[in-house]
């Protein structure tokens, strides 16, 4: 016997979706919706909020840009000027006032006009500066008479001069006796004199 179902296919009992499938489909739809919703929430919620916060903070920073630029330029100016001052001070400290040195030296040699202690003179003076070694002063010297103690007195007076504290080295006493018949007394002691000043770099370190 041939049975013919005249009901439309989807209404036929045997073709209807079973409840399990329907429930699963519903569940799947729910899960998918939740997943998409979660993504949407994170993407359009959290990320957007963060981007907004970024925009806000960027705007805040931008509003300070002019002030910061002004400060930076000012600071550059300040550094430039300060460097000039520093250089001037550095250069100024490295200078020795030679007119003062010569005046002090003249005072030592003149010894307030008292000639009993020594009567000295120099043939010449040569001052040579060296930033590493310090300044060297060469003074070929002479003392009247043949009394060696006068030369010793002169050495002693040089060591007590105001500039002596800045010396790192001074020649030790040595002499050659000479005679000049055109002068009274004819005898005189001639000796080398070399003064070595402490270099400024060392002097600054000491301080």
């Amino acid at each position: 016997m041939i049975r013919i179902n005249l009901l439309p296919a989807d209404l036929r009992r045997g073709n209807r979706l079973p409840a399990r499938v329907l429930a699963a489909a519903f569940g799947a739809a729910l899960i998918i919706s939740a997943a998409v919703g979660w993504f949407g929430l994170v993407y359009f919620g959290n990320l957007a909020a963060s981007e907004q916060a970024l925009q806000k903070v960027t705007a805040k920073l931008d509003s300070r840009a002019a002030g910061v630029k002004y400060y930076t330029d000012l600071e550059a100016n300040r550094k430039d000027y300060a460097l000039r001052v520093q250089t001037i001070q550095k250069i100024g400290k490295s200078r020795r006032v030679w007119s003062q040195f010569l005046d002090d030296l003249i005072d030592v040699v003149n010894n307030n006009g008292a000639t009993d202690r020594h009567l000295a003179w120099f043939d010449s003076i040569t001052v040579k500066g060296d930033p590493k070694k310090g300044v060297t002063v060469k003074l070929p010297s002479n003392v009247q008479g043949d009394d060696k103690s006068l030369m010793a007195n002169f050495h002693e007076d040089l060591e007590a001069a105001p500039f002596a504290k800045e010396l790192s080295k001074k020649s030790d006493p040595s002499f050659r006796q000479k005679n000049d018949p055109e002068r009274i007394p004819t005898a005189y002691l001639t000796f080398p004199m070399e003064l070595q000043f402490v270099p400024f770099a060392k002097k600054a370190k000491k301080k």
């Binding site: 399990r20 699963a24 489909a25 569940g27 899960i31 998918i32 997943a35 998409v36 979660w38 993504f39 994170v42 993407y43 959290n46 990320l47 963060s50 903070v57 805040k60 920073l61 300070r64 002030g67 400060y71 330029d73 000012l74 100016n77 300040r78 430039d80 000027y81 300060a82 460097l83 000039r84 001052v85 250089t87 001037i88 250069i91 100024g92 490295s94 200078r95 020795r96 030679w98 007119s99 003062q100 010569l102 005072d107 040699v109 003149n110 307030n112 006009g113 000639t115 009567l119 003179w121 120099f122 043939d123 010449s124 003076i125 040569t126 000049d180 055109e182 002068r183 009274i184 004819t186």
Partner: protein
């Protein structure tokens, strides 16, 4: 699909759901990554905002610093200027040459010192050759070292000039050959940044005036003032006595004698002045000492030039300057302005009474000049204020001084009485004075009146004082 089995359907749905969930999870994970990145950026920018705020907060302080430094810039530029001022520096050398009297023979820029360094300050060295006496050279060096532009003398030499024959001198001082190496610095403007415009600059500058001035003092270079020759000798010249044919100068021993004589005289004068100014010295003794002091000082001063020319030996010249000339100046100064004024600047009552008695004696004995001098030597100490009980005595002394001075002036008047006519009570008597006839009551000059003419004497009124001139 219709033919799909139930199992297949369920599997497909599960698979699709899982796929979508995984995609969503991946998306969420990726989005969290993005959020993290954004948050890092936010944190960075927030820090930058904080840093910017801190900087902005510091702006006023930096502005202050910049204003102070900028206002002092003029001072730095003076010390270390750029090219233009370097030309002025060379011009200044010419001025210093004129001021010191040196004679320059060359100025050369030292090799390898062109000032082209890339730094802010490029050193430039010059070598300057000159001929000068020690004192001229020293003055020139001092002017260079005190110049507003920073100049450092790095090397120098003083030597005998290379000449044949006699040594060249200027005013008796030997001329030397001097060589200086001077170093200065050139400021490199290109290395500096642009100047920032500070709003309200003028007002801020006015506020900071004191601080600007204070800082300016810190950058000033130390200066030294060369005191000049001060009788000292040139240390590059043999000071010994010239033994050739004795020379024209007096011997050192003779010079020393003169020097010591004058030093002794100065010491004596000092002692006298000390005694004169001492508290317990009686007034009359003070007067006598002062008189002696003045006469001795006059004698010493009269011989000073002669003795100065006699002492030519340089070591003695210094002693002469220090132990004779300077103390004499001090003595003269002390004479003009007494160093320590007594607590009571006026003479005591007894001293004024003594003075009046002595002046009266002087006037009565005709010693008018002495009376006047007595008063004038103590005049400062007689300016007693009206409220002081000694005022009356001081006025009496002043009146005596006035009388003595008027009498002395009257004495000096040219009054040649050639004859008198005396009318015994019938009319005015008269006289022939310097060829002119004057009667009693006539004015000879504005301050001189004929009061009474008698046979042996004529009475005059001179500056309110009645004086008599005998025939």
């Amino acid at each position: 699909m219709a033919s799909w089995t139930q199992k297949k359907l369920l599997m497909t749905m599960g698979g699709v759901s899982l796929g979508v969930c995984m995609l969503a999870g991946g998306g969420v994970y990726y989005t969290h990554g993005l959020i993290d990145e954004v948050e890092i950026k936010i944190a960075e920018k927030a820090n930058a905002v904080l840093a910017a705020d801190a900087k902005i907060k510091q702006t006023r302080k930096v502005e202050t610093e910049v204003i102070i430094l900028r206002e002092n810039l003029g001072e730095y530029v003076k010390i270390l200027p750029d090219d233009k001022e370097l030309i002025d520096f060379v011009r200044m050398l010419q001025r210093f040459e004129r001021e010191s009297g040196i004679k320059s023979t060359g100025l050369q820029q030292a090799k390898g010192s062109r000032g082209n360094a890339k730094g802010r300050f490029a050193p430039i060295s010059y070598t300057f050759d000159m001929t000068a006496t020690l004192w001229q050279g020293l003055k020139f060096m001092n002017l260079i070292e005190n110049f507003e532009r920073f100049v450092s003398i790095t090397d120098f030499s003083i030597k005998k000039p290379r000449t044949t024959g006699d040594v060249k001198t200027i005013d008796g001082e030997v001329v030397h050959s001097i060589k200086l190496t001077m170093q200065t610095y050139k400021y490199n403007k290109a290395a500096a940044g642009q100047e920032v415009t500070i709003p309200g600059y003028e007002d801020r500058m006015a506020e900071l005036r004191e601080e600007i001035w204070k800082r300016m003092q810190e950058i000033r270079l130390t200066h030294y003032e060369h005191p000049g020759v001060q009788g000292r000798r040139d240390i590059f010249v043999d000071p010994r006595e010239n033994g050739l044919a004795g020379g024209s100068d007096p011997s050192n021993a003779d010079q020393r004698d003169v020097l010591e004589k004058d030093i002794g005289a100065v010491a004596d004068l000092n002692k006298m002045l000390e005694k004169c100014r001492a508290e317990g010295t009686p007034l009359m003794e003070q007067y006598a000492i002062e008189k002696l002091f003045k006469s001795k000082l006059t004698v010493l001063l009269a011989n000073l030039d002669k003795d100065a020319a006699f002492i030519v030996y340089r070591p003695y010249r210094l002693r002469w300057a220090q132990e004779v000339v300077a103390p004499i100046k001090q003595l003269q100064q002390r004479m003009i302005t007494p160093q320590s004024k007594p607590a009571d600047p006026y003479l005591s009552k007894d001293a004024i009474q003594d003075l009046i008695a002595l002046m009266t004696d002087d006037c009565n004995s005709g010693q008018l000049e002495q009376a006047r001098q007595r008063y004038e030597s103590l005049q400062e100490r007689l300016a007693v204020p009206a409220a002081d009980p000694r005022y009356g005595l001081a006025v009496d002394a002043k009146s005596l001084h006035h009388k003595a001075s008027t009498a002395l002036d009257f004495k000096r008047l040219d009054l040649n009485i050639q004859g008198v006519v005396v009318n015994g009570g019938t009319g005015r008597s008269g006289m022939l004075l310097n060829g002119e006839v004057f009667e009693e009551g006539d004015y000879i000059a504005d301050d001189l009146l004929v009061k009474q003419v008698e046979e042996e004497q004529v009475w005059f009124v001179f500056r309110g004082l009645t004086l008599v001139r005998t025939m």
